[in-house]
């Protein structure tokens, strides 16, 4: 953590350094290139949205940020991705610790088929974050509260997590992710399997979580990107077409492809 950022020297009155930086990232599945030369920064206190037509590589790029692509044997990542200035693909980086610091919420709610309590407690337990049982209870309660689920489940913490509704399951997954106190949260289309009311709850939740974590959200819903994010990246065919302030992208896109996509010409 004390490492000096060699390539981005910090001036006294410069803005805070980026939480994560990606430079010239290429991703290949076998010989097929899914991501071409993408460079992007992710900041604290901000929600970054990735938009683009399906198959353009949003999920692929998102999964390079916590090395979930390691589980795909054909995937190969080149380029430079840093978390707080540390190269996350370097041999010194422990992938287990990285994934604790960069949490992930998946497209389909995937709670463990265990009790609600166990779902949230699992991460802190394997990382040894709670010394005593009481401490674990606090972590579970705090995480569920921050995920806006506490009031709904506080009386049935021992019920199975899979018995909840889809929207509750997704909030449980968010609680599970924040229980290990990550610095970055990656969300891959977290609302695509949910109804509008559950979606609204998750969006509200993202607003509340913004102050504490750097959040990256993939979405195919442009209104959602406009509502929840401060910065938006538009991907197309594996390349990053445009990246900037969300208000800019939606009102005044620089690229014609972005404009076409936003106005619904394709997608």
């Amino acid at each position: 953590m004390t490492q000096v950022h060699i390539d981005t020297p910090v001036q006294p009155d410069a803005p805070a350094p980026h939480k994560m930086t990606a430079r010239n990232v290429d991703v290949f599945y076998g010989s097929k290139q899914a991501i071409k030369d993408v460079s992007i920064d992710v900041d604290m206190d901000r929600v970054t949205a990735f938009i683009g037509p399906s198959g353009c590589g949003k999920s692929t790029f998102l999964r390079t940020l916590n090395r979930m692509n390691d589980t795909v044997s054909s995937a190969r990542v080149t380029g430079d991705i840093r978390l707080d200035g540390d190269d996350i693909y370097s041999p010194q980086m422990d992938v287990v610790q990285l994934r604790a610091r960069v949490g992930m919420v998946f497209q389909k709610p995937n709670p463990f088929p265990k009790s609600i309590y166990e779902n949230v407690a699992y991460g802190p337990r394997i990382h040894g974050l709670a010394a005593a049982r009481g401490e674990m209870d606090e972590i579970v309660e705090g995480s569920l509260k921050r995920a806006g689920l506490w009031e709904e489940v506080k009386d049935r913490l021992s019920d199975s997590g899979t018995a909840l509704s889809g929207g509750q399951q997704q909030r449980l997954c968010i609680a599970r992710a924040i229980a290990v106190d990550p610095e970055v949260i990656l969300m891959d289309e977290p609302c695509s399997a949910l109804d509008p009311i559950a979606t609204a709850k998750i969006e509200e939740l993202i607003h509340e979580l913004r102050g504490r974590y750097a959040i990256v959200i993939v979405t195919h819903n442009m209104q959602q990107a406009a509502r929840v994010s401060q910065r938006t990246a538009f991907f197309h065919l594996g390349t990053l077409v445009e990246y900037g302030e969300t208000s800019e992208i939606f009102t005044n896109p620089r690229e014609v492809r972005t404009k076409d996509y936003i106005t619904g010409r394709y997608g």
């Binding site: 610790q97 949490g103 992930m104 998946f106 995937n110 088929p113 991460g123 394997i126 599970r176």
Partner: protein, 430 residues
């Protein structure tokens, strides 16, 4: 392209001109009737198949029970003995100490009992009671030493000939047995000796405990070996091994191994464990090792399918919050796959329990008159015992064979019941 464009209006017209379907025509009604008939036919055939298999099972059980239940009983003769007159040189105090059996034997209890039989039943008395009758009398004396000073009527086991005549008839002793029965001196009781004894040449003296204990020891070795190795192989092959030519080869080999006839595993056990490693012949340890070779592929195949059926989203979820791969496997994949793994284990173990041929090959068919002392002492197993007894000439062994089969089936049911209980228990955890 142009051809298609030219066709388009034509096709559109056809769609527009299509007459509305009349669902009430005769052809439609016939189709409905045929559909119902097909459904009825299928239901009938399915039901018939179920009834047929249930009937086979019932037939098996009924014949086994009819034959075998008699194997659990013994015929007894009421034998009056006058201990006071016989002058046994034993004191009541001796009977209460250890070494009472030796004291009774050296005091000539066997002779006393034989004499009492002659006195009670006439000159053929000694042939009517079992050779082990005096042991039963000794047990009575030990339980009640006060009998030594007086007389008592004790129910002693009858000889094999009397037992057979009383149970099935059609023997030279039938008339004599009818006479005894008329005198009310013949009774039937539960043969505890069958549950506690081991093999013997006399059908009234055989017991199943020797073979049952041999089977239990063998199954313990099989389970302790096949289950962990099978589960670890399955998990490694599914979760860790790269997909390449070598793992394909291993997969094919394991699938083939599961189909190899069991006698070949017996030959393998003979060559490897007995010839090469010089392990003891006829031992439960070797039997268990041999059956483990046979059971392991079944567990590996079932285990791989169970591991494969665990949804990848669960693995992603655990990896996504920083679980290591070993943690993913032991915290999530194996618990979720356990019911499936246990099902495979039940099938494999049930097959191993009933297996005779490989055990014959490694010498577990020897005549062993006492229950095995441990994993390395000579033992036999239930199916081998059934095989050996069914080969005996003496008619008394017929019911003992069926009784042994009942014990085997009960053991099998108990094993399966336990596994199903465990499976349900693990399924309920979610």
């Amino acid at each position: 392209m142009t051809g298609m464009v030219a066709q388009m209006p034509d096709r559109d017209r056809k769609v527009a001109e299509r007459v509305p379907t009349d669902w009430k025509t005769g052809a439609m009604q016939t189709r409905i009737r045929r559909r119902y008939a097909a459904e009825r036919r299928f239901r009938f055939m399915g039901l018939a198949a179920v009834v047929l298999s249930a009937a086979f099972l019932a037939f098996l059980l009924v014949t086994m029970l009819a034959q075998g239940l008699r194997g659990f009983t013994e015929t007894r003769l009421a034998l009056p003995i006058d201990f006071a007159a016989a002058g046994l040189e034993v004191t009541p105090a001796q009977l209460e100490q250890r070494g009472a059996d030796a004291a009774l034997a050296s005091a000539g209890l066997e002779r006393v009992v034989d004499n009492a039989a002659v006195a009670a039943f006439g000159p053929d008395g000694m042939d009517l009671i079992s050779d082990t009758a005096w042991i039963r009398v000794g047990e009575r004396l030990k339980a009640d030493p006060g009998l030594l000073g007086g007389q008592a009527v004790i129910a002693v086991p009858a000889s094999a000939g009397v037992d057979l005549a009383a149970k099935s008839g059609d023997t030279p002793l039938d008339a004599r047995v009818a006479e005894l029965r008329a005198q009310n001196r013949l009774t039937t009781g539960f043969a505890w000796g069958f549950l506690t004894g081991a093999d013997s040449t006399d059908p009234t003296r055989v017991g199943i405990w020797g073979a049952l204990k041999g089977s239990i020891l063998t199954m313990v070795v099989t389970l302790l070996l096949a289950f962990p190795i099978g589960v670890l192989s399955a998990v490694y092959l599914e979760e860790y091994a790269p997909r390449n030519r070598w793992t394909d080869l291993i997969e094919v080999s394991i699938n083939n191994l599961a189909a190899v006839p069991s006698i070949i595993f017996g030959l393998l056990g003979l060559a490897v464990f007995l010839a090469t490693f010089q392990m003891p012949r006829s031992a439960a340890l070797v039997g268990g090792l041999t059956l483990a070779l046979m059971t392991m592929p079944v567990i590996v195949i079932a285990g791989r399918n169970a591991v494969k059926a665990v949804p990848p989203s669960i693995r992603d979820a655990a990896l996504g919050i920083g679980a290591s791969r070993v943690q993913v496997v032991f915290h999530h994949v194996i618990p979720l796959a356990l019911p499936g793994i246990l099902t495979g284990t039940i099938i494999g173990m049930a097959r191993a329990l009933g297996e005779t041929a490989p055990l014959l090959m490694i010498g577990m068919r020897a005549f062993i008159a006492g229950p095995p002392g441990g994993f390395t002492s000579p033992a036999t197993a239930l199916p081998v015992q059934v095989f050996l007894w069914s080969d005996e000439v003496s008619r008394g062994f017929v019911e003992k064979t069926s009784a042994a089969i009942i014990v085997l089936l009960v053991f099998l049911l108990a094993m399966n019941g336990l596994a199903i209980y465990l499976r349900n228990k693990f399924e309920q955890r979610w």
